[in-house]
C-alpha cells in the first residue's frame, strides 16, 4: 500500500470531483475538494498538499491562474497536475510554464490518475 498522501482537487464539476474522491479515499489518501479557484486559495493558506489536481476551465478563475497563486502558498515539493477536456497545445504550454507537471485529458483512465496521485516526489 502506497504512502498516505494529502491531495487537493480543484474542479467545478461536482460529479467529476466526487468520482475522483472515492478511489483516493478507499486507498486511504486525504482528499480536499475546492469547487473554484478562490476556494482553492483559501484552503491552501491553511493546509499543505503533496499533489494538486486542477481543472483548467472554471468560471471566475481558470485553473492556470489558480495554479500561479497557490504555488506561492504551498510547499515547493507540491506537484501540480492539470485536468481538461480541451485539446489546446498553447493552453498546455501555458500550464507547463505556470508549473504544471502533467496534463490529464478528460476522460482519463483512473489508473493514470492514481499513478500521478501516488507517485513520490522526485
Amino acid at each position: 500500500m502506497p504512502t498516505e498522501r494529502k491531495i487537493l482537487i480543484v474542479e467545478d464539476d461536482v460529479d467529476f470531483a466526487g468520482t475522483l474522491t472515492l478511489p483516493l479515499e478507499m486507498r486511504h489518501h486525504s482528499v480536499q475538494i475546492a469547487y473554484n479557484g478562490f476556494e482553492a486559495i483559501r484552503i491552501s493558506q491553511d493546509q499543505a498538499f503533496d499533489v494538486c489536481f486542477l481543472d483548467i476551465k472554471m468560471p471566475g478563475m481558470t485553473g492556470i491562474e489558480c495554479l500561479r497563486k497557490i504555488k506561492e502558498l504551498l510547499p515547493a515539493t507540491t506537484r501540480f497536475v492539470m485536468m481538461t477536456g480541451f485539446r489546446d497545445e498553447a493552453l498546455f504550454e501555458e500550464a507547463r510554464q505556470a508549473g504544471a507537471r502533467e496534463i490529464l485529458l478528460k476522460p482519463f483512465k483512473m489508473a493514470e490518475f492514481l499513478r500521478w496521485a501516488e507517485e513520490l516526489s522526485d
Binding site: T19, P23, G85, F86, D88, M110
Partner: protein, 494 residues
C-alpha cells in the same frame, strides 16, 4: 387658322400673299392719285382756257356795261356740263354777270386769293379765277367752278377695276409661289422630318439629305455634323457605360467571392469554436461516467452496496447531461422551415408549464389572459419558452432568497403578443447582459451556451424577438414577442 399657320408652308404663303396684297394696293393707290392729279391739271387748264376765251368775248359788253348781253354770252358754258357756276366780276369785287347750271343754287364763295390766274381744289369743286385784260389793263375777273363729275366718275370706274387687278395679281403671285416655295420648304420639311425621326427613335445614325446649297443646305450640314457628334458621343458613352458595367460586375463577383470566403471562414471558425466547446462539455460528463464505472468496480469488489448505487446514479446523471448538451446543439442548429399552425397562446402555455418539473422551493405564478391566437411553430416556440424558464429555474437554484418565484404572463401590447417570463433571482450583471444571446456564451458550470442563442433564433424565425430586462435590484424579465402581422390575433384589451 392658327393651327394651320404652324406649318411653314402656310406661313410662307400667308406672308407672300399679304406682301403682294399690300404692294399691289399701294401701287394701285399711288397710280390712282397720280391719275387724279393729272386729270385735275388738265381740267384746270381747260377751265382757264375757257375763262380766257369767254373773258375776251365779253370785252365789249363789259366795256359798254351791258350785263344782260354778258349773261347771254355766258350761256355758252352750257356746252360744258360739269361747269356749275361762272361769274364775271367788274370792277374787282362786284358781280357783273353770272352763269348757274340748271337747278344749282348760287354760291357766293370768297375768291381764291391772288395772284391770278389762280386755282383752288376742294372735294367736289375746282375753282379757277383769271384776269380779263383789255389793252394791257385788267378790266375784271372771271370766276368759274367745276364739280369734277368727270374725274369722279372715271375714278369710281377705276376703283372698280383696281380690286380686280389686285385679285389677279394675288392669283398670279399664289400660282408662282406654289411653284417656287416648294424649293424652299421641301428642304426644311425634310430636315424637320429627320429631326422628328431622330428624336423619336433615338437613332443618331440618321442623316438629313442636303437639297440646296443655300442657308437651308448649310443648316442641314450643321444638323448632320451635330448628329455625327451626338452619335460619336453616344457611342463613347455607351462604350464607357458597358465598360463600367463590366467593371461593376467583375468587382461585384470578386466581392461576392470574398464575402463567401469570409462567411465560409467565419462559419469554420464558429464551427471550430462550437466543436471545441461541445467536446469539452461532453468530456466532463464522459469523464464522470468513466470514473463512476471504475468506482462501480471498486464498490463491487469491496461489496459496498451504497457505493454501487451512488456510482450508478452519477453515471446515469451524466449520461443525461450528455443528452442535454446534444439536444441543445440540435435545437440551435435546427434551421428547417417552420411547421406553423394556429395556436391559442394561453392554454398552450398553461399545458407547457404543467408538463414541466418544478423544484419544490420555486413557486410559479401565471397570468394567462391574453385571449390571443397566433400562427407559429409550436415545437420550436415550446423550446424557446422552456430554455428561458430553465434559465430562470437555474438562476433561482443557487439564490439565497426566502421566496423564489417565476411569473409567466401573456398579454397583447400594440400589435405584438408578449410572453413575459420573470424570476426574482439575482439578475444578470450589466456587463454580461449584452452577451447573453451570443452563441457559446455561458456562465454556468454545465452548459455550452446555446440555450439563449436558440431562443433568439427561434423568435427571429417568427419575425419576433426576445428582450431582456434586469433591474439593478435583482430579478430578471425576458419578453418573448411575436408581431400580429404573422398571426391572426384575436385581440383582447388588457
Amino acid at each position: 387658322m392658327i393651327l394651320q399657320l404652324t406649318k411653314i408652308r402656310t406661313k410662307l404663303t400667308a406672308l407672300l400673299l399679304l406682301s403682294s396684297l399690300v404692294a399691289t394696293s399701294i401701287a394701285s393707290g399711288a397710280l390712282s392719285l397720280y391719275w387724279v392729279s393729272l386729270r385735275l391739271t388738265a381740267l384746270g387748264d381747260d377751265l382757264e382756257t375757257t375763262a380766257n376765251a369767254l373773258g375776251k368775248t365779253c370785252h365789249a359788253t363789259i366795256a359798254f356795261n351791258v350785263p344782260e348781253e354778258t349773261n347771254r354770252l355766258l350761256l355758252t358754258l352750257k356746252r360744258k356740263p360739269t361747269v356749275v357756276q361762272a361769274r364775271i366780276l367788274a370792277p374787282e369785287t362786284q358781280t357783273f354777270a353770272e352763269y348757274l347750271r340748271d337747278g344749282q343754287p348760287a354760291v357766293d364763295a370768297a375768291l381764291p386769293p391772288p395772284p391770278y390766274p389762280a386755282r383752288r381744289v376742294g372735294w367736289n369743286s375746282l375753282e379757277v379765277v383769271t384776269e380779263i385784260v383789255r389793252d394791257g389793263e385788267r378790266i375784271g375777273l372771271f370766276y368759274v367752278r367745276d364739280d369734277m363729275a368727270t374725274i369722279w366718275s372715271s375714278l369710281s370706274a377705276l376703283l372698280l377695276v383696281i380690286p380686280l387687278v389686285v385679285l389677279g395679281a394675288l392669283g398670279v403671285t399664289y400660282a408662282a409661289m406654289r411653284r417656287l416655295q416648294r424649293g424652299m420648304t421641301l428642304p426644311i420639311t425634310a430636315l424637320a422630318e429627320t429631326a422628328a425621326q431622330v428624336s423619336q427613335g433615338r437613332n443618331y445614325a440618321l442623316r438629313a439629305e442636303k437639297q440646296s446649297p443655300d442657308e437651308i443646305g448649310e443648316l442641314t450640314d450643321a444638323f448632320n455634323t451635330m448628329l455625327g457628334e451626338i452619335e460619336a458621343g453616344n457611342t463613347a458613352l455607351e462604350n464607357y457605360h458597358n465598360r463600367l458595367e463590366a467593371l461593376v460586375q467583375e468587382r461585384t463577383a470578386a466581392l461576392h467571392q470574398a464575402q463567401e470566403q469570409l462567411v465560409q471562414k467565419e462559419r469554420l471558425a464558429v464551427l471550430g469554436q462550437l466543436t471545441a466547446t461541445v467536446s469539452h462539455e461532453l468530456r466532463n460528463p464522459m469523464g464522470s461516467i468513466s470514473n463512476a464505472l471504475f468506482n462501480l468496480q471498486l464498490a463491487l469488489e469491496a461489496d459496498r452496496r451504497d457505493l454501487v448505487d451512488s456510482s450508478l446514479s452519477v453515471a446515469n446523471r451524466n449520461v443525461e447531461r450528455c443528452d442535454r448538451i446534444i439536444g441543445e446543439l440540435l435545437d440551435y442548429s435546427r434551421k428547417g422551415k417552420l411547421v406553423e399552425r394556429e395556436i391559442e397562446v394561453d392554454p398552450w402555455l398553461q399545458e407547457l408549464l404543467e408538463e414541466m418539473i418544478w423544484p419544490a422551493q420555486i413557486r410559479l405564478h401565471t397570468d394567462l389572459r391574453s385571449g390571443a391566437c397566433f400562427h407559429g411553430d409550436g415545437d420550436r416556440l415550446r423550446r424557446a419558452v422552456l430554455n428561458v424558464i430553465i434559465n430562470a429555474q437555474q438562476a433561482l437554484q443557487d439564490a439565497e432568497i426566502p421566496e423564489k418565484t417565476v411569473q409567466v404572463i401573456t398579454r397583447v401590447v400594440g400589435d405584438r403578443l408578449h410572453i413575459v417570463i420573470e424570476d426574482n433571482g439575482p439578475g444578470i450583471p450589466e456587463e454580461l447582459r449584452g452577451r447573453i444571446f451570443e452563441p457559446l456564451f455561458s456562465t454556468k458550470v454545465y452548459g455550452i451556451g446555446l440555450g439563449m442563442a436558440a431562443v433568439e433564433e427561434i423568435m427571429r424565425c417568427h419575425d419576433g424577438g426576445v428582450e431582456l430586462h434586469s433591474p439593478e435590484g435583482g430579478g430578471c424579465r425576458f419578453i418573448l414577442w411575436i408581431p400580429f402581422k404573422t398571426t391572426h390575433g384575436a385581440k383582447n384589451a388588457d
